[in-house]
Symmetry: C2
Subunit: 322 residues, 2 copies
């Protein structure tokens, strides 16, 4: 199979929202009037971000999901993506076919759900590597930035924290989850749901937002740094699934909710006057939104335990270059 | 060094042409009024596209150059780029620093020349992989497409063909070049010059265009396929540097000019009435532009040798998945 056959067979779908899609030296795109373009790139590497034997449909989903999550965190409407992919050399071309068919099915299944069009990319030989650039639209001046948090703002997170990290701890043999608990947590790890609808709903309401890819403390830390603010959060308020809650008496559980990456929930801040509106969004989207603490002027992030004592924090989050 | 330190130190420069650059979940960009966005992604993999010990400054140059070449082929004004990079784990962090400093210097040196702003990306651990998404602007309806070639159009190429392939043949031990010949050819291989100015000058003049990354026959073939046309080209007209010309009596030289990739010259077509204008562009840019043949209605590409006999073609170009 040539590179061009491969692109034609697995990665070419109709792109009615583009002036020109796959097949020339570049795609041609036009943002809607009054909108600006939000652009983000994420690279997923075998062995670093996923196991080499990852199920390809789920990997295709996750490859796009982590990028959609960046659009969600900006309050952007995702529109287009490019996908560059390095595939290992295999002797049996059939294996490639099966893998690509499932991978592209997972990718396009999620793309279709959010109206994202694949408009270009690259395919080449090399250790498995997946690089997506996602492009979305946001009304000029309407993006959710990291830098807008104000003292007194409430801090919110969507969904549950730590499921993905707990699943990883199980897969790495550090803990042993029951089958039903693993099922719950593995969903977060393998099939994260980008909070696109939430990001769109938070336009004009949230003062800042970020997606939690490296762990709550690390990612909230980016908001605090960009906003030059501090935060106080309550450990008991952190939303945990039943499996994670079962580990909250141990360091493992606390690590998972505070520093576990890969959940792709949103962390955002909003003025207390918007509390009811945020709760209304939660009800409308059927997505738990939990107020976990408050932005304060004094820099630094303090986590209080159930007794009201500040927690000693050991690990701030996942950083690729530690 | 954390991921964030690394981005701050090596990959954060001022981005006055962006509404928001590096440092949030996405960059925010606005295309100029009347323009549409041209977007292209290219992935460079160690061992596939460059030698693992490639000099990092030149690699930084080439990583951006191959992407700029796509903008050139569209007649687009390059504006912004994202860079996702996977770096192997090294025990000595100092080696990373030296490599990154040179790589980013090469990248930004070329970026600055064309006013391209790095607005985002990703850094992670993994086998060395460099993925750029480039974004440029082109007046609506003014892009140079592959699909516009008409019967009777002249076929042109810029610069010289086959230098990069000849350098590669030497480096792989298949031929032995003199030091001065290697110098000439290695420039094309290691430091390709994207023909951005040419692409811009050809707006409204060329009927189709593509950059030659996989070899003349393969890339001209894309024009022919997209335009549903054929071509007749004359081997003796193909522009060759002195080193390549020295091999034109052998299969090696013919392979280099017809099927050698990595030159990143432009191949374009234009109505014969535009011949003088094209020559004028060549003079103005001090860049050889050579008329190598003609577009014909009958599909297929025929290359005539010096005696006027059609050449038997063995290898159509570089394809990653052969």
């Amino acid at each position: 199979m040539t590179e061009f056959d491969l692109i034609r067979r697995y990665f070419t779908r109709a792109t009615p929202g583009a002036l020109l899609g796959v097949g020339d030296d570049a795609a041609l795109l036009r943002a809607s009037a009054g909108s600006v373009l939000a652009v983000s790139s994420d690279m997923l590497v075998s062995g670093t971000h996923f196991f080499p034997d990852a199920e390809p449909f789920l990997l295709g989903h996750k490859t796009l999901a982590v990028n959609l999550s960046d659009m969600a965190a900006m309050g952007a409407q995702p529109r287009w993506a490019t996908l560059a992919i390095a595939l290992p050399s295999v002797n049996n071309a059939g294996a490639d076919d099966a893998w690509l068919e499932k991978f592209s099915a997972g990718f396009f299944s999620l793309a279709q759900r959010y109206g994202v069009e694949l408009v270009g990319g690259d395919t080449t030989r090399g250790p498995l590597n997946l690089c997506v650039t996602i492009m979305g639209e946001v009304p000029q001046g309407g993006a959710l930035l990291r830098s807008g948090a104000q003292a007194g703002d409430e801090i919110w997170v969507s969904g549950y924290l730590g499921d993905a990290a707990l699943a990883l701890a199980h897969l790495q043999g550090r803990i042993a989850l029951s089958e039903s608990d693993l099922d719950i947590c593995a969903q977060a790890l393998h099939r994260p749901q980008p909070r696109v609808e939430l990001g769109l709903a938070l336009r004009g309401i949230a003062s800042s937002a970020i997606d939690i890819s490296d762990g709550l403390l690390a990612d909230l830390g980016h908001i605090l740094e960009a906003s030059r603010m501090g935060a106080q959060i309550d450990l008991v308020k952190l939303p945990a699934s039943r499996p994670v809650a079962g580990y909250l008496g141990q360091q493992t559980g606390i690590q998972c909710v505070l520093a576990g990456g890969d959940d792709y929930e949103l962390c955002f801040t909003a003025h207390p006057a918007r509390h009811a509106e945020v709760s209304g969004i939660a009800a409308k989207l059927k997505l738990p939104l939990t107020n976990i603490g408050t932005i304060v002027a004094r820099q630094g992030c303090i986590v209080f335990d159930a007794a009201g004592n500040p927690l000693k924090l050991e690990r701030a989050g996942y950083e690729h270059f530690r």
